[in-house]
């Protein structure tokens, strides 16, 4: 991936200063407020945050699927250097499902209950290509095999209610894969599933992405999923990215107090018997975000300077600067958590 950056080729997907808002009686709610990241082929990016942090809206904004009256207020979404936000609706529709596919959270709700699986898969193919139904059906069948569904011919003739949750999510993944997209945006696709099924699907997704060179944006609130899956991670809080970097670096040595708090909230990472650490307070309401750092009110490391919004930049003690600002290790904090002492981990 650094090779691609070094060669000067634009990244596959680049999000620049993305702002998405929902008008409300109390003014515009900025659900996503200046998000930047980039993604190369075969790369997996974890987008982590609490409910309401804007991670799902970021995903929908990339596809141009923000529910009205919400709309993209600014920024660019570049796919191979082409700004999707500037395209008209037919051009964007041609990209949706073809070059950028999406998988949703709840497999019980994403498949249309009154249409058979084959109908829903074949239409995904024929919406983008003038293929015959028989050929599209063959592609659908192959995609089902790819996601590990046994007896694909039988499943193609089934209705969604005849399949289990895990099976349905596999079908949704197969639909996303059927056009061999460049990017897949997965919005918490394993949250609603059993842990065992979750593990299987994570493993399969990772293999599929590696094998096909598809880039994957994995939106989740679950740090443990990101730890095993992603190459890089962006942590979102109140519509902004507060920390990003390679997954191991961020999880081993979080620099933003919020990331630190998130990691400490995972029970598995807590010594037995000690009360579970938690982040005090609640995420701020997007209606009236406090000025300056939005995490300040809940932060134990807040200093006077936090009244101003800190920039997202490389922490000074990790070499500062460097990279193009969207790939390097960055943190949005005036007073970052100090690096762990050498040898402590």
């Amino acid at each position: 991936m650094t090779a691609a950056a070094a060669s000067g080729r634009p990244p596959l997907l680049r999000v620049e200063g993305l702002c998405t808002g929902f008008p409300s009686r109390a003014g515009m709610l900025h659900a996503v407020d200046g998000v930047d990241f980039s993604l190369d082929r075969g790369e997996i990016l974890g987008l982590v945050g609490e409910s309401g942090s804007g991670k799902s809206v970021t995903g929908f904004s990339i596809l141009g699927l923000v529910d009205p009256p919400g709309r993209i207020l600014g920024g660019r979404v570049l796919l191979d250097g082409v700004d999707l936000a500037a395209l008209d609706e037919p051009a964007r529709r041609a990209i949706r499902g073809k070059r950028i596919a999406m998988i949703f959270q709840d497999p019980m709700m994403t498949l249309n209950p009154v249409l058979r699986i084959d109908t829903q898969m074949i239409e995904a193919v024929t919406a983008h290509e003038a293929t015959g139904t028989a050929q599209a059906r063959e592609r659908a069948r192959a995609a089902l095999v790819q996601v590990g569904i046994a007896a694909p011919d039988e499943r193609l003739l089934a209705y969604p209610h005849q399949l289990s949750g895990g099976m349905r999510q596999r079908v949704a993944i197969a639909i996303a894969l059927v056009n061999r997209p460049d990017v897949i945006i997965a919005d918490e696709p394993t949250t609603a599933l059993d842990v065992t099924i979750q593990g299987q699907i994570l493993h399969e997704m990772q293999a599929l992405v590696r094998e096909s060179g598809t880039a994957l944006v994995w939106i989740t609130h679950d740090l443990s999923v990101v730890a095993g899956l992603a190459d890089r991670v962006c942590v979102m809080y109140a519509g902004r990215i507060v920390e990003s970097g390679p997954v191991d670096a961020v999880l081993d040595a979080p620099r933003h107090p919020y990331t630190r708090g998130l990691i400490d909230s995972v029970p598995a990472m807590n010594p037995r018997g000690r009360p579970l650490a938690q982040i005090p307070g609640n995420a701020p309401s997007p209606v009236d975000l406090p000025p300056g750092c939005t995490f300040r009110a809940r932060c134990s490391r807040a200093i006077e300077r936090c009244g101003d919004m800190p920039p997202l930049e490389a922490p000074a003690d990790e070499g500062g600067g460097g990279g193009d600002g969207t790939r390097a290790r960055t943190v949005r904090c005036w007073n970052p958590v100090p690096l762990p002492a050498q040898g402590s981990r």
């Binding site: 529709r93 041609a94 999406m102 709700m109 009154v114 005849q162």
Partner: protein, 327 residues
């Protein structure tokens, strides 16, 4: 499926039996048809002869028994006033009513579903609000008044459409129909519109509510994420999901429109079954009334059956009880 249909048909014979009992005794309780039928100047002997001819001198339970036994062989009796078999009288009038009902349902469907879809997809637009306001009028204005207003405007003031009758008819498989002639169309348009208004309003509101409910579902967003065209999403994904309530209402309302077209038929002098029923009630013509009610009951039973079968075709999650399926 077959077992389900057979069971339903057997249940319906019970319903038919009870209905015949109720109507038969009910009409008997209203009054004596002989008083109306017989010439006021007739003497006692003539009256007694008329009573005997109609079989009204026998005790009521025997009259019902005769009715029941002949009904089982398909004979529902002869009209007291004309002597023509009741079924024949009804079947003569039935094509006119069926045609009127079908035309009115067609108007309600062809306009109601698209308007409801539009109002559901663009709920904030002025046109959608106009459609919804109009649908309230469709519910609340009484049929007879709208009918009179239609005649007033289109027949009296503008002179575009004829106010009464069926116009020219053409035989289609031996059944006279109006909709194949231009003159028939002009006669059909006003009464069909009048009869359609209520159902039009109903379908608009039903389609709008269904559309709004379905549009926010995840599977619609997922369909968008697949890159499907709007026409595919609305025409397949949305429409198939909202079809179940629509099919129910269309089925039931089709029955109601046939059974209760009485007011519209009276206003537009449409020679259908509704007018026959009113005339028969006025004359206490019991065989015709009983036959009419039984036919209507049978029709409702059949329509409900068709609706149930359609459900299972529209929504794979619905399985007909006792269908003996394997899954």
């Amino acid at each position: 499926m077959l077992a389900f249909i057979l069971r339903r048909l057997m249940q319906s014979t019970g319903v038919l039996f009870v209905m015949s009992l109720l109507v038969f005794f009910g009409v008997y309780a209203i009054g004596n048809p002989v008083d109306i039928l017989v010439n006021p100047n007739a003497d006692q002997q003539d009256i007694a002869r008329a009573i005997a001819e109609l079989g009204l001198d026998q005790p009521l339970y025997l009259q019902y028994w005769h009715f029941l036994t002949s009904a089982l062989s398909g004979d529902l009796g002869r009209s007291f006033s004309t002597g023509i078999p009741a079924l024949e009288l009804i079947f003569q009038r039935m094509p006119a009513t069926l045609e009127l009902a079908a035309a009115s349902m067609a108007i309600a469907i062809v306009f109601g579903i698209p308007l409801g879809l539009y109002a559901g997809l663009r709920p904030e637009s002025k046109l959608a609000k106009g459609i919804m306001a109009g649908s309230i009028l469709g519910f609340s204005l009484p049929t007879f008044w709208v009918g009179l207003m239609l005649i007033m405007v289109f027949s009296v003031w503008l002179g575009w459409l004829p106010p009464t009758g069926r116009g020219d008819t053409v035989d289609l498989f031996g059944v006279p129909v109006s909709f194949l002639t231009l003159d028939g169309w002009t006669h059909l348009l006003l009464p069909a519109t009048n009869l359609a208004l209520f159902n039009l309003a109903l379908l608009i509101r039903l389609t709008r509510a269904g559309t709004r409910e379905v549009m926010v579902q995840d599977y619609i967003r997922f369909a968008r994420a697949k890159g499907l065209s709007d026409s595919r999403i609305i025409g397949v994904h949305v429409l198939k999901n909202i079809m179940i309530p629509i099919v129910t209402i269309v089925g039931l309302e089709f029955g109601s429109v046939i059974a209760f077209a009485v007011v519209t038929e009276s206003i537009f002098a449409w020679p259908g079954m509704g007018k026959l029923l009113i005339d028969s009630i006025n004359q206490l013509d019991r065989p015709v009334i009983v036959a009419y009610v039984l036919l209507i009951v049978l029709m409702f039973v059949l329509i409900n059956l068709v609706v149930d079968v359609l459900y299972s075709l529209l929504d794979p999650r619905i399985r007909l009880a006792d269908s003996g399926g394997t899954r």
